[in-house]
Symmetry: D2
Subunit: 244 residues, 4 copies
């Protein structure tokens, strides 16, 4: 297509303002990609469509014990710690996740402090969110329900009474290690307990240890979620996880 | 108390191992203070005991319009945008918060793209979480429901059908400015939409603007939460906030 | 200006590609503002043109003692700790800074461990970069030269021999506190010792304390830089600071 | 060893205070491990003992061109861009590093803006620190000397005159990617230009691209450092790197 000079000049005169205008065009800051995947939310705390259900009330098929089969009890739609049967963990492994889990400490109080309704939700088998009956139960703050064990005290104590179901919604960001095994990115957690924020993207200093100072040690990007047998018959139900 | 040298030596011999042992004592990593404040959780999405209720279904007493009274409609326990009555904002001001809010786009679809069920939840009157009917409705990804407007695309699209109530649970970390007005800490948001994580502690680059690049400008640590009149009769209910 | 429809259509046909092209225009990602301030670098470790010189070899006019005048000795162009005369601090106060400081431990070794050439550079009077003669001198790693005292071990030990001048280049990011006194942004440091990186934007957990766990306490955004009298005649020279 | 009860009681009475005292013991916060590796600093900008020297003035043995041999010129102890011979890169690959490099734009000014003394230091072949003669030379701020190209404007313009040697000290933190290729940790840079801080641990949004928005794409943890042939005879010397 060939234009006489006169026409071309006119076009330039008209188009230049268009380009200039384009820089103030709201369309320039629109991003059309990626298009987020469509998922269907669950009702209430029920799993959304992209969740992996780890326990739906009937069986332990997603779990294993330290030496094979998970031997906890199934009762009234919950899985219950059987003292001495040991900590159990998922057969699947996970990296960054959103985890929903419900738990209940025994209605009849036995023991005190750390001895009362004690269990734990371990991300990657080593980063523990404490499970404890912390309803009118004195213990150290960084060991009460909702604490990231011995690393972070929960912002508030939003514990329900013994025997009532409680929820944890945990957003876990896995640590990443460099090829030489040194830490590249620390683990982080955001936790909502019974609908209330108790940790806001806090940084973990390493695995949650009982004695001494935490210290990261290189591990795979995906590992199991485990639930602790601490000798108390704590119950769990409605467990689902979304990979982030 | 005075001991003969012989006794003192014995004591030292016995006590030194005690000190050494103390360094491996699990008690050393217990923290007993602070003791988190006890609060009572709400049932489901109901407010916990330490929440400030911004709308409980009956009146707009916590809200104001641009020029005085908030003139949105109260209908069936919800507050509804009245086109042309303008954006409303809370009388109280807030810094870091956990905000729960429920919203509903009109059941009868009108318009398309950004014209369909459009409103917005603004933290500090300038950081917008987009409200839009994004159920089978094509628009730019960083402008769909749950986007942090023109800054962050939601991880997934977890929109419900038009006419259904939806929830946002927003954890907002306010920006902090230095005395010279420059940015000291950027704003961050974690957002859960209908129970599903759509933003994990993302950093905001400034106020969420329609045109051009965001740019922080110093403002007070506490400002109002505002809800946008974008011309569509979007409804809101069950709004509560916790100061963090 | 009125065009016949035929001409308008032609213009639109030509201009639309121009707008589209504009979105791939490299000019769109150019930022012409702000224009960084022009400064003149110093030669070697000499101060750049925008630095505040805190000690140029001749007097202590920028410094004060705990109870008034700074009573350290000026000798051979250096300022030297006089045991018992106490820690000194700048009269000016600072927030975020780049600090250059040179120091020298006594050539004749006296004492051992923490007792040998001990002093300290305190940012904001409470965040200490340890000064110590760590040349073939055993002590705890988080207390050796270049450590952020009892918080961060230096990446390497790049100490010179006693009696030789050493440099610290410290990039300090001040903590910021919210109006309620809680921590809003933690302090961070990057430190280069004798030209070698020893800390890369590490986060401080609070003031650097001798006993117990660090804990932030709200303080002004700008405070003095102080130099410690730890009883050893450590010398300092060529001290300058740039406000960031 | 057996004690009569009386003695045991005495010991307990004495030792308990010792344990209590131990919790206030300054020794509890001493860390003796790891012991940082001892290295010898270089004099001035000379390499420290643990550096890998990438150019010492005499040969290009550490470098390669796009298609084999690096064909830049060696002149007066410097390596000089030969227009058209192309960008060169190190044979070795690197992750997190401290990089020292000196550069000089031609003494006789030719061209203007981006056309004057243009080259670039690329970390991992894709994250560019701009090299440009920015002494009294107008261009876009995020493209001037010391800019992280089109992402971060330098804090100040500390350029020397054309023909003078300038230094960059770059602390580079590599991005880390998750197994699924998504970003796990963003790249960061701290840069000191001629002794003056121009970037303080800024976050990169992706590779530094000429057109459009940066976007991370998974790559190995270690890649080459490259120097750009942008057509101008920019010289480089005294290049060394330390792996972090």
């Amino acid at each position: 297509m060939i234009y006489p000079e006169r026409i071309l000049k006119s076009l330039i005169l008209v188009c230049l303002p268009v380009v200039t205008f384009a820089q103030k065009d709201p369309k320039l800051t629109e991003e059309w990609e990626p298009v987020p995947k469509v998922i269907t939310p669950g009702v209430g705390t029920a799993p959304p469509s992209d969740a992996i259900v780890l326990f739906n009330g009937s069986d332990l098929s997603e779990w294993q014990g330290q030496n094979g089969t998970a031997e906890w009890e199934i009762k009234d739609g919950a899985m219950v710690v059987v003292a001495g049967k040991g900590t159990i963990k998922t057969k699947r492994v996970f990296g960054d996740v959103q985890l929903h889990i419900e738990w209940r400490s025994p209605e009849v109080i036995q023991g005190e402090g750390q001895g009362r309704g004690n269990s734990g939700v371990f991300l990657q088998e080593q980063y523990e969110v404490q499970v404890l009956d912390s309803y009118e139960n004195v213990t150290y703050s960084n060991g009460q329900a909702g604490s990231i064990y011995k690393q972070h005290i929960p912002l508030v104590n939003v514990s329900k009474k013994p025997g009532e179901w409680q929820t944890y919604d945990i957003i876990f960001t896995t640590p990443l290690f460099k090829e030489d095994g040194s830490l590249g990115r620390a683990a982080h957690m955001t936790i909502i307990h019974n609908g209330v924020l108790i940790h806001n993207h806090v940084k973990l200093n390493g695995p949650t240890v009982y004695i001494g100072k935490p210290k990261y040690k290189s591990h795979p990007e995906k590992m199991s979620i485990s639930l602790q047998d601490h000798g108390n018959p704590v119950a769990f139900r409605n467990i689902w996880v979304r990979e982030l």
